[in-house]
Symmetry: C2
């Protein structure tokens, strides 16, 4: 194989980029002029990406479509909203450019994050950590009374993919009753699955509803006021998918009316929510700032994932986390 | 069997006590004059306990030892510190009074609570829930960088009993390297066990140290300054056993020096800590007010546990959770 040009706009420290450069030799590493930004930032793509055979990062859609030599794009996030349009899919399909994402890097962290949410809620951690109440006092009795076991409760997962699979693995010892929603069932899912059309009755029975939907036209505001009201009274809602999938005003109403027990969100729309957003005023709404996928040494794990896929690419094997 | 008199000082609502009265018939239920207090309170025992054949609750040691007809004591907590003395053990041994506790009732909740602590720490929940930082900003990068996966990390459990066993079950999908400490190994433990004398080297290697020690003469301040300093730098310390097992000033020093990464405590000595206690000033110390064993409907679960043991008692079968 001729040496290839690999462009990346990853925000990585110099030593990691040096390591990447060595690992891909004899292929050539090409970096943008300035330093990289956040993996989620929406920056103009450096024009030298046009020389690339392979891109790792977050290039603009136009830059991908106008790139004359591009043979493979690996997106450095799990989400790939900006690329997930019929026009883009058609274009890369016609050009034979495979598109992969980095969801494998984030699956474990996201699954642990949502389980952290579920247990923090069940054990009333925000309330318990904020009080100095004595044993036997009224707030203490309430805390213990409001505490729950996850064990034996029911869970509905909207969006069956690799994060859901990992979450299901982590929950195995809790013996929860789990059902998942998937656009098209493949038959190899670890739990019973329903289509979005058939999800209503199942979701109504769940003590916990976890949203891992991607951001696309079909998922926009999928969790709306009507769906929140059909959930079981006291149900707990979690979102580690994308903020746009939730009607946030309707969520605030369902929380404030006491219909939902609590919400735990790692994603919102926009991020962060403006300081005067109603969700900040909901006592039972808990928000982390889109950190579910994070872990120490994350960029190194991203690069390792890319190198593993590069080896597959060179060997002509199927790429992992291929999304188009 | 002659109808027995069963005394309880459980702080239970009237309908639960009515249910208990019906369930034990033809045995007689005897209640203290006033209403019950907290299961952890240290109240004088009602004199009519002297008529009891069986006691469920938290009677004073003297009341137990002077009780002329007592045939069985079931303590309504997992801890039984006040009874755990050589003098008491000898006295009930000589009188042939079995002593059981209610640890089964609290095992699941305690195990879920400590896993909630571990995941909240790994996913930096207190820090994440307290910030509104935007994606890509310095505090956001730090949050993601400080986040961890539990997966593959190492854990040392001090105190191998039914809570530890349940925790080990819950952690199975995380594939952690787990070692436990037990005074006398029985050979049927789910993980490798070491004695307290042989624990030092093993504890030094652990990313996480969970203290589930009971409160007795041997465990007082077992976690002292020397042990904290021998732990791995950045190790996380959890206590859901008893507060007296920890030298709290030494813990504060180990936290403030940065040697320990964080502490998560459900128990302290005393409870709550006075407002001027140094541990309240440690940013990386997280305290819940002895709620690890709690769950909604807890008293009903306690009563169910007692009724199951009463059936065993009547059938002459070994009692569950027998501690003496």
């Amino acid at each position: 194989m001729e040496p290839l040009t690999i462009f990346t706009d990853l925000a990585a420290p110099a030593e990691l980029l040096d390591g990447l450069r060595e690992s891909i030799a004899p292929h050539r590493l090409l970096l943008p002029e300035g330093s990289g930004g956040s993996v989620l930032a929406d920056l103009p793509t450096d024009p030298r990406m046009q020389e690339a055979d392979i891109v790792l990062g977050q290039p603009q859609v136009d830059a991908v479509l106008s790139s004359p030599k591009l043979k493979w794009l690996q997106v450095s996030t799990a989400g790939y909203t900006r690329y997930d349009t019929p026009a883009f899919r058609t274009a890369v399909g016609e050009k034979g450019i495979p598109v992969t994402n980095s969801s494998r890097v984030y699956d474990d962290a996201c699954a642990e994050h949502v389980l952290a949410f579920m247990l923090a809620n069940a054990r009333q951690l925000p309330q318990g950590l904020a009080t100095r109440c004595p044993n036997g006092a009224e707030p203490w009795l309430k805390l213990r009374q409001d505490s729950r076991l996850l064990q034996g409760q029911s869970l509905f997962i909207a969006g069956y993919g690799s994060i859901a699979e990992r979450l299901i693995d982590l929950l195995a010892p809790f013996k929860m009753a789990i059902t998942a929603m998937r656009r098209t069932a493949r038959g190899d899912e670890k739990v019973p699955v329903v289509s979005p059309e058939d999800s209503t009755g199942v979701m109504e029975d769940a003590d916990h509803v976890v949203n891992i939907l991607p951001d696309n036209a079909a998922s926009a505001n999928w969790f709306d006021g009507a769906r929140f009201l059909r959930m079981k009274k006291g149900a707990i809602y979690y979102n580690i998918g994308r903020g746009t999938t939730t009607d946030q005003e309707a969520l605030a109403e369902a929380l404030n009316s006491g219909h939902l027990g609590a919400a735990w969100l790692d994603v919102t729309h926009p991020e962060p929510l403006p300081d005067d957003h109603v969700l900040w005023t909901c006592e039972n709404c808990h928000i982390t700032p889109h950190t579910a996928g994070g872990q120490g040494g994350e960029t190194a794990v991203l690069i390792r994932h890319f190198l593993e896929n590069l080896a597959r690419y060179q060997a002509g094997q199927p790429l992992v986390n291929r999304v188009m």
